[in-house]
Amino acid sequence: MEIREIENEIIEEFELFGDDWEQKYEHLIDLGRSLPLIAEQYKTESNIIQGCQSRVWLNARYQDGKLVFTADSDAIITKGMVALMIRLLSYQTPEAIIKAPLEFINKIGLKEHLSPTRANGLVSMIKRMKQEAVQHLAK
């Protein structure tokens, strides 16, 4: 699926909850739990993205012209957000990843998690994902 289609799918999924933030977060937490864990061998120092409070691990590999990401976080809400980003950007081409606008985060009302002051490592994770894509194009 293209990134735009996945974005629309996620937006629809979250629209079900309307203004009920508890349900929205329950869903986010469920998404976090469903995230396939990163293999222990990839939970290395170099794969760690240090937020001030919660930590994120991200591993990238290149397969058939696409980037594949696996990731984990020690905080479940952060992990839910990580799961959304993986669903969106994993198995996409580097070009598509670089161009991805990520505006859907606004639309599902979770923008606060991508604030640079949030200290959860997510902003750095997205930056790292885009960097991986840029590096693969440069190769």
């Binding site: 933030w21 977060y25 937490i29 001030c52 409070q53 919660s54 020690d74």
Partner: protein, 415 residues
């Protein structure tokens, strides 16, 4: 949310006190703010906001240097503020009360001053295992640059300080004991009397980090008589950017200055400077005059309520919160005690403090999560961080109950 208060063995009208704090009516995420992050900084009463406003509106001028009326008035306000601070902490000579930018600034001034005079390579400094980074790093900097040694007073299994171990840690090389009077993470109160007595017997310099004690407890510096004591106004209902550095009288003349410049002198030539005496020697540049005025207004507010009343009220809140938290099997409390100064730290088993804090915020409840600038303590406890609820005089039992109800929801959401 029902905000009616049933607090009070003491005659504190918390509802009336709350009216002094405009920010408490603010809505956060559509909910009435419950502010339990007072350990980080406390909200400001109208009296403080007005004092600062009034100063800038009617008195603003630079001090200690003008003959004109405004400058004299501003100087008077600034020096009156110093007297108010001195009286609050029972200091006889106000010159012993130096205005700083805050606790961190004060500790740096002490550490650098001692590094230039007393401390020698191989000397030892005693800290506690629950120090704030601000009372570790200035000493560590000296230790790394000069071959000094930091020694740590350990904690007992209940997380209180192992006071008995101190006599075994003291050696002929121990020059300074620098301890926090209250742990900002655990809320535990350091038993200062035995510690200061031991230090005195061994001729060791004592530095008290009062950042978390001064907001909650009466502090009598004449009775305690440490060498140095520091605190921050912003944790005591006052403005940010101003704090107190108290020093025993002898240090006023002998402690080398960490920084210098205009305002600290009697006469200057390019060859030589004769320094002013007293507090001014340590206050180079234009000080935070409005801050000092606001600090004094904050202390007047605290004294109008009564510091002992504040302590008693906050202790009731801590004990109520602790009692309720203990009913929840998912909760683990750190530093559990009946004698804490306004702070309670805990975790939900199997949940990251970040998740707990994020969800509580959605309910309008502001707590702090993380390491609270006490990473060595976190390493000791083997955890990444905690959730910390810390109280001020305007918090109510109704808020504590609301917090517990919402925490139960959080437990449910994270289950």
């Amino acid at each position: 949310m029902e905000m009616k208060t049933v607090d009070s063995n003491i005659h504190l009208d918390v509802e009336a006190i709350r009216l002094n704090f405009p920010i408490l009516t603010k809505k956060v995420n559509g909910q009435t703010l419950v502010y339990f992050d007072n350990g980080a900084t406390v909200q400001k009463p109208i009296a403080v906001i007005d004092a600062i406003n009034d100063y800038y509106s009617h008195y603003n001028a630079n001090i200690h240097r003008g003959v004109h009326t405004l400058s004299r008035e501003a100087t008077e306000l600034f020096e009156q503020a110093r007297q108010t601070v001195a009286a609050h902490f029972r200091v006889v000579n106000p010159q012993q009360c130096i205005f700083t930018a805050g606790t961190t600034d004060g500790i740096n001034m002490i550490a650098q001053g001692l590094a230039k005079s007393i401390l020698k390579p191989g000397d030892e400094i005693l800290l506690t295992a629950y120090e704030h980074h601000s009372n570790i790093l200035p000493w560590q900097l000296w230790a790394h640059e000069n071959g000094g040694v930091l020694k740590v007073i350990p904690l007992l299994s209940n997380h209180s300080l192992d006071i008995d171990s101190i006599s075994t840690l003291i050696t002929a090389k121990t020059k300074v004991i620098a301890v926090t009077q209250v742990s900002n993470t655990l809320g535990l109160i350091t038993p200062l009397e035995p510690l200061l007595k031991l230090a005195k017997q061994h001729g060791i310099i004592t530095v008290i980090d009062g950042a978390q004690a001064a907001p909650h407890l009466p502090v009598d510096l004449t009775a305690l008589n440490p060498d140095f004591f520091v605190c921050s106004a912003h944790k005591m209902y006052g403005p940010t950017g101003i704090g107190l550095l108290y020093m025993r009288e002898q240090w006023l003349k002998t402690l080398p200055m960490a920084k210098t410049g205009g305002g600290t002198i009697k006469t200057v030539s390019f060859e030589k400077t004769e320094y002013a005496e007293g507090a001014l020697r340590f206050e180079p540049g234009t000080p935070h005059i409005a801050g000092a005025v606001g600090f004094a207004a904050a202390l007047k507010f605290m004294n109008a309520v009564g510091v002992s009343n504040i302590y008693q009220h906050e202790t009731e809140l801590v004990n109520e919160a602790q009692h309720q938290l203990l009913q929840l099997p998912e909760v683990e409390i750190y530093g559990q005690s009946e004698h804490k100064a306004g702070v309670i730290s805990f975790n939900l088993k199997n949940a990251h403090p970040f998740d707990v804090g994020t969800l509580l915020d959605k309910y309008g409840i502001a707590v702090r999560t993380g390491h609270h600038c006490t990473q060595p303590l976190m390493q000791l406890l083997g955890i990444q961080g905690t959730v910390r609820a810390s109280f001020a005089v305007y918090n109510t039992k109704a808020e504590v109950h609301h917090f517990i109800e919402k925490l139960k929801r959080v437990i449910h959401l994270l289950a």
